[in-house]
Symmetry: C2
Amino acid sequence: MAQPSRYFVTGGAGFIGSNLVDRLLADGHDVTAYDNFSTGQRNFLKSALPQQRFQLIQGDLLDVPALTSAVAGHDVVFHLAANADVRFGADHPRRDLEQNTIATHNVLEAMRQTGVRQIAFSSTGSVYGEPDVFPTPENAPFPVQTSLYAASKLAGEALIEAYCAAFDMRGFIFRFVSILGERYSHGHVFDFLQQLSADPTRITVLGDGRQRKSYLYVQDCISAMLAALQRASGQVNILNLGAEEYCTVNDSLGWICRRLGVEPQVQYTGGVRGWIGDSPFIFLDTARIRSLQWRPSLTIEQAILKTVDYLRENQWLLGSRRGG
Amino acid sequence: MAQPSRYFVTGGAGFIGSNLVDRLLADGHDVTAYDNFSTGQRNFLKSALPQQRFQLIQGDLLDVPALTSAVAGHDVVFHLAANADVRFGADHPRRDLEQNTIATHNVLEAMRQTGVRQIAFSSTGSVYGEPDVFPTPENAPFPVQTSLYAASKLAGEALIEAYCAAFDMRGFIFRFVSILGERYSHGHVFDFLQQLSADPTRITVLGDGRQRKSYLYVQDCISAMLAALQRASGQVNILNLGAEEYCTVNDSLGWICRRLGVEPQVQYTGGVRGWIGDSPFIFLDTARIRSLQWRPSLTIEQAILKTVDYLRENQWLLGSRRGG
């Protein structure tokens, strides 16, 4: 199979999406970004926008006719658009259903109707709920969902698997740990920097700070997805993406404070979970993606420090968004 | 906990739903059936309708205001309404999304908004896809979905689990094998009888006839659900419901033909699957429901013969529906 060259990226103006757009363009591909700019940033596409091989379509995944005509003519869809607001699902349960589950259905239908046959999907390690096995492999015991976010992502995975079986499509489902790096604008590092830039003498940490989490640098995440598209041979390929290590929230806070040169008083909200549906321990088995000759280039500590440096150089982002 | 006594049954005019309504009324409970009569039969409610403790509401699960006001004031929701058209999912992919996934979301939202805290859900053994472990336990390895129907049911399971975690609800998720018995109007026995009543000399069997399947008698299914509601103690209780045996499609055909006194020529469509997404082997581990002091009263052969007898006495049903 010749390498496909026309990529369609939903959420193409987002954190991971815009980094992927830049990488695909650098590799010589044609790229269409589809984004409704609910959280995407036009600023993230400033190097992509002038390029001939790039097209930006402002559109919503719930607008089926617009989506269908936009998808036509591509070889591969990277479906990265999502409500990534993991912590606040219980405040607006319909948002996860619409933005994650129904949107994924719409993407698949648009592909089926226009004959686009390959989809890559950003799922989450949260679909394992609170697993008993660490590191957690892709074929861990059938999990019980603990958050609306993960439930809506699992529904997206299931839809992709069923479409592949029914309509002879190929699917790549990536279960991410939390991703860090340039254009990161959401999550605990963001939240910590936002708090410390408002008041460097104190910080509130959700939970007890001992939650164990794994992280991955965005450029490593993108390399892993592209390695899978090139080398995984199944009709449905499910792959954990993460580092071969984990850290505690307190480790991360320590690295961040040292980088910033601050020593805040830390107040913990208490409990082993930061919020309802927060998993106290996330550590994925990445043997499957490693078997495709992929390795991360940064450690978790390096990825966190790179993210801190990026956010310090891009203060506008800290001001623009609620942490999450 | 006193036993709840106000039950709300979605799909209450359907095959399993109407049998459940009759059982709950016989046990002295108040019952509301909610059904849009897309496949439900008013005829199935003829013993329920005159009873004071029974209320029928004709309504659709996609009609959120109607659903919400109907759900209010109940103790337990049995959410049985679904598109059960397992074989034809690829012909109308949005139907499974709407009737199974979005409808389940709407039921949960209606419950949350009106303070109803217990939900029992009819899921399917098909969520195990094509498992490697037989009999298949509830914590089998994380499956890959092979049909739009099962994908939409898995999404329903995930939503229920997430709602239980987020909103302190209790959930009972039942993964059914195929259910047989009185008011059965859908599936291979129905299809065989429909064919043989049109022409008793020949029959077409989907696949190679060697598919191994498990079945359960509807009254045993209902007893199992009620046993779980009384005795299972978890916040989320996931339970396989099935017989401790399986048979082949050819076994079933043989029993049916002997009962009817016919010897048709059998033509097989071929292949190990009857249709895309058909699982060649379904056999669930039922140790969990058995640990709650439940046992089926009929063997698979007895359940099939009872179904044949029922359909022969209710020819109107054979004429009314496409087999599936």
